[in-house]
């Protein structure tokens, strides 16, 4: 499964990069979302896959068997998801505003404002 996921992550990342390189600003935001999916999955896979074993303690369930699931990557991903959400929301608003002000979605037209 790890090998399969490795390729899934690679694919998500590639798709994200491809979208980032588009000129349309809407595609740019999709690219960022794809990238954040890829990275979340990367951290998750790196922490090790253990089927159906949530990190709960103190319920007396299978307490004699040590739980191999690593809670730390999960906590990290949780944070990452929330922050990713914040960024996406902000980016959406920015994009909305950008389109309103400039009337274009072509990122290449931003260049003019930069070099003038």
């Amino acid at each position: 499964m790890e090998t399969i996921l490795a390729f899934v992550i690679g694919l998500l990342f590639a798709a994200g990069v491809y979208m980032l390189l588009r000129r349309s600003i809407v595609k740019l935001i999709l690219g960022i979302m794809l990238l954040s999916h890829a990275i979340n999955l990367l951290i998750f896979t790196a922490g090790g896959l253990h089927k159906g074993r949530p990190q709960f303690t103190g319920y007396g369930m299978e307490s004699d068997i040590p739980n191999p699931t690593d809670p730390l990557p999960q906590a990290l991903i949780l944070t990452a998801i929330v922050i990713g959400f914040g960024i996406t929301a902000f980016f959406l608003a920015l994009m909305y505003r950008f389109y309103q002000v400039t009337g274009t979605e072509d990122l290449d037209e931003l260049k003019e404002g930069d070099t003038k």
């Binding site: 490795a6 595609k27 690593d70 906590a75 922050i83 929301a89 909305y96 979605e105």
Partner: protein, 771 residues
């Protein structure tokens, strides 16, 4: 040694306070600043008996001893000699400037700069660590830049200042590289230790590069050919600066460095040849151009170049007698050059011109100053009974009987001195004797503050010439011994008896008089020759080179900085992927996943959904379809999380995905439709880059399976979640308890994002203001 440290601080504080002192202190405020400098002179004089007895004082404040970087001070005969020159000359220059700078509205700034310069120069010569020295070396470059460009409303002054800065700082940079090599070779940068490791350094395989780099620093600072051109330009500075810069400071920093490192790096054939040849060329060049000028200050500037050439030459000859000659000539030159630049300043001020052709008979207008000038000029010509005579005799003695190019050096030396004699006589007769001539108003008698510097310096030239033994043992011999410990006696006298040196002096004076008599006829010819035949100007070539460099960087920037963010992204992705791929390929054979969880049908189905929806999202032609399928990808990943026991993560993921979808739906009708901007070729290129980057991610995951991180961190959380934090869900406990501060940061990010979103949506642009 602590006293010296305190004095350095006092000087720095005086520099900082000087603008206020000058502005509030009235007309004689500069005397106070001069007094501070003179106090330093007196303090250093009290150290003279110590260094004369061969004692060496040092003080080290450790900073980064592992990298040999320390703040160190070191005082021996040589440092003391320079420290006295700097503080003594500084005192006279400050007093002179107090009067001279009166008409300048920004004079308070001037005093800050010149005191800062004095501070930097003084700290440079008593530095005990090459890096400490380097820092002050650069500080002298920067402060001299500001001083040369002091009259910044004049374009020539700005240009000259920039040239001086670029050349000396470029040299300083090279010198720093040389210091680093030196430090690696000797294992220290402390001067007292370096002085003992000369043999190691001279036999080190990197000796030559280190030498060349350090010489680049010394030669640029001391205006040696081909870097000499910044110095005549630097006379754009007000006269007090020139007097200070040319006599005891700045250009002497390079000479000081050569003297300091002479026991460490000197004595090799490379050292001898580079120094003698550069010195000889500079000496002749300076002499020729000095003779062909008509501006008093320019004449003086070129004679400085010539004198610096003589000093480098003497250090290159590197015999006992040449080292003695170098130290004594340094003193000689400082005394007469400081005096003459002040005289140039006061003549310019009272007679309204510096042009030799427009002036004459100034003795009547300013007898005292004229006497001081004549004494200094006689010292420059090397005539008895001035100390300049002793200096010149020693220089001749050092040049006699040298092997191979010795005869050429002797001839060049005599020629240079002939020119010096001719220039001195020309200046004496043209400026001071004969009928009174002036272009503007009748020259006034200069004020005491203007006269006192030249008077003191000239009388010192005379007294030291008549009674040379007064300073020989106390100041000069310790300085010489610091360069060459084997010398322990120094006998100076005006009269050496009849020998070939005296004969050469006679020839020099005779030829000099002839050249002087020819001056009026030859000078206009030479001036025309300089202007019409020698069209090549180093300063112009330098400016052209600078312009070329600027246009080159502009082109380079235009090439690299396209302004398209995609191009920057491509550069980042390609570079990162290429580096990572190199690493992956390097360790390819170890690539295997050591933990294998067998995939079930259910997981395979989810993976298929994720892959299919991601591909569809990428290729979709409609926004809606793309967003929805991206949502499917997100939910798929959430399902995977559930499947592998990450319930909390999955819940969050589903919530976030849903919210994003909703947000998208809200704004989607305000957004443009998907448009295809790129051509097929661009798409193919981008797809290639994307696959390169994605492939490296796959490789990374495959490698990550092998990495066995220390499990202790996670174990700590698992074991203590219940007992310490009283929570049963470990992931939650980590977030809200163990790493609560991170979560606080995360919430802060959300708040900022929310504020940003509100601001962006609510902000109403006024028409025309935002576009």
């Amino acid at each position: 040694m602590n006293g010296i440290l305190v004095y350095l601080l006092i000087l720095l504080i005086a520099a900082l306070l000087s603008p206020a002192i000058i502005q509030r202190g009235g007309r004689h405020a500069a005397w106070l600043l001069g007094l501070i400098s003179a106090a330093g002179f007196a303090m250093f004089l009290t150290y003279a008996p110590l260094t004369s007895a061969g004692e060496k004082l040092s003080l080290t404040i450790n900073w980064l001893p592992e990298l040999y970087l320390n703040f160190s001070l070191y005082l021996d005969g040589l440092s003391l000699f320079f420290a006295l020159l700097i503080t003594g000359m500084g005192a006279l220059v400050l007093v002179f400037a107090g009067k001279y700078m009166q008409p300048y509205p920004l004079r308070h700034r001037f005093f800050f700069l010149i005191l800062l310069f004095e501070f930097a120069m003084l700290a440079l010569v008593i530095s005990g660590n090459l890096f400490t020295m380097f820092i002050f070396w650069e500080l002298t470059s920067v402060s001299s830049f500001l001083l040369v460009g002091f009259s910044h409303e004049k374009p020539e002054a700005r240009n000259a200042a920039l040239q001086a800065l670029l050349i000396t700082v470029a040299g300083g940079l090279a010198m720093m590289a040389g210091f680093i090599i030196l430090g690696q070779a000797a294992g220290t940068l402390e001067i007292p230790l370096l002085l003992k490791s000369g043999d190691i350094i001279r036999n080190h395989p990197h000796y030559l590069p280190a030498l060349l780099l350090i010489l680049a620093g010394a030669f640029t600072k001391s205006a040696q050919f081909p870097f000499h051109f910044w110095l005549p330009g630097a006379m754009q500075a007000p006269s007090p600066v020139s007097a200070f810069l040319h006599s005891a400071t700045m250009v002497k920093a390079g000479i000081y460095l050569l003297m300091r490192l002479s026991p460490v790096m000197g004595g090799t054939p490379e050292w001898k040849y580079i120094l003698t040849i550069t010195g000889a060329i500079t000496m002749l060049l300076g002499g020729y151009f000095a003779y062909s000028q008509t501006d008093f200050k320019k004449v003086l500037a070129y004679t400085t170049i010539s004198a610096l050439g003589i000093l480098v030459l003497m250090l290159g000859i590197d015999t006992d007698i040449s080292i003695k000659a170098a130290i004594i000539f340094l003193l000689v030159h400082a005394l007469y050059k400081g005096a003459l630049f002040m005289i140039a300043g006061l003549i310019d001020k009272s007679a309204g011109s510096r042009d030799l052709r427009k002036l004459g008979g100034l003795f009547r207008a300013m007898p005292v100053a004229a006497v001081a000038a004549i004494i200094s000029l006689l010292s420059m010509a090397g005539l008895p009974p001035m100390i300049g005579f002793i200096g010149k005799e020693l220089i001749y003695e050092a040049k006699i009987g040298l092997p191979d190019i010795g005869n050429f050096l002797l001839l060049a030396g005599v020629l240079t001195n002939v020119i010096m004699v001719a220039i001195s006589l020309t200046l004496i007769f043209n400026l001071f004797l004969g009928p009174l001539k002036y272009p503007g108003e009748k020259p006034k008698r200069p004020a005491l503050a203007l006269r006192i510097g030249p008077m003191i310096l000239a009388s010192v030239s005379l007294v030291f010439g008549l009674f040379p033994s007064t300073v020989a043992d106390l100041l000069l011999r310790p300085a010489i011994t610091s360069i060459r410990p084997t010398i322990d006696t120094l006998k100076l006298a005006l009269w050496h008896g009849f020998n070939e040196v005296l004969l050469m002096s006679f020839i020099t004076v005779a030829a000099g008089i002839i050249l002087f008599l020819l001056y009026r006829k030859v000078n206009p010819v030479l001036t025309r020759f300089n202007n019409e035949v020698i069209t090549f100007r180093f300063a112009d070539a330098f400016n052209k080179g600078l312009d070329f460099f600027l246009s080159l960087t502009k082109k380079k920037t235009a090439l690299v900085q396209s302004g398209y963010q995609r191009i920057y992204l491509i550069a980042i992705f390609i570079m990162t992927s290429a580096l990572a791929w190199y690493q992956i390929a390097y360790t390819w054979k170890d690539m295997a996943v050591n933990v294998i969880t067998p995939p079930g049908v259910y997981e395979l189905l989810i993976v298929t959904v994720i892959v299919a929806s991601a591909i569809f999202a990428t290729l979709a032609k409609s926004r809606l379809a793309a967003i929805l399928s991206l949502g499917a990808t997100g939910y798929g990943i959430a399902l995977l999380f559930i499947n592998y026991g990450a319930i909390d993560v999955a819940i969050t993921m589903i919530l976030a995905e849903t919210l994003i979808l909703v947000l998208f739906m809200v704004v989607i009708y305000h957004l443009p439709k998907f448009t295809s901007f790129s051509s097929g070729k661009t798409r193919l290129r981008d797809a290639g880059i994307a696959l390169l980057a994605g492939g490296f991610m796959t490789g990374l995951v495959l490698k990550a399976g092998q990495v066995n991180l220390s499990p202790k961190i996670s174990e700590f959380y698992t074991e203590n979640a219940l007992s310490l934090a009283h929570g049963k869900n470990t992931v939650n406990v980590i977030l809200v308890d163990f790493r609560a501060l991170d979560t606080l940061g995360e919430i802060t990010v959300l708040v900022i994002a929310a504020i940003g979103v509100t601001a962006l949506l609510k902000l109403r642009t006024k028409k025309g203001s935002a576009t």
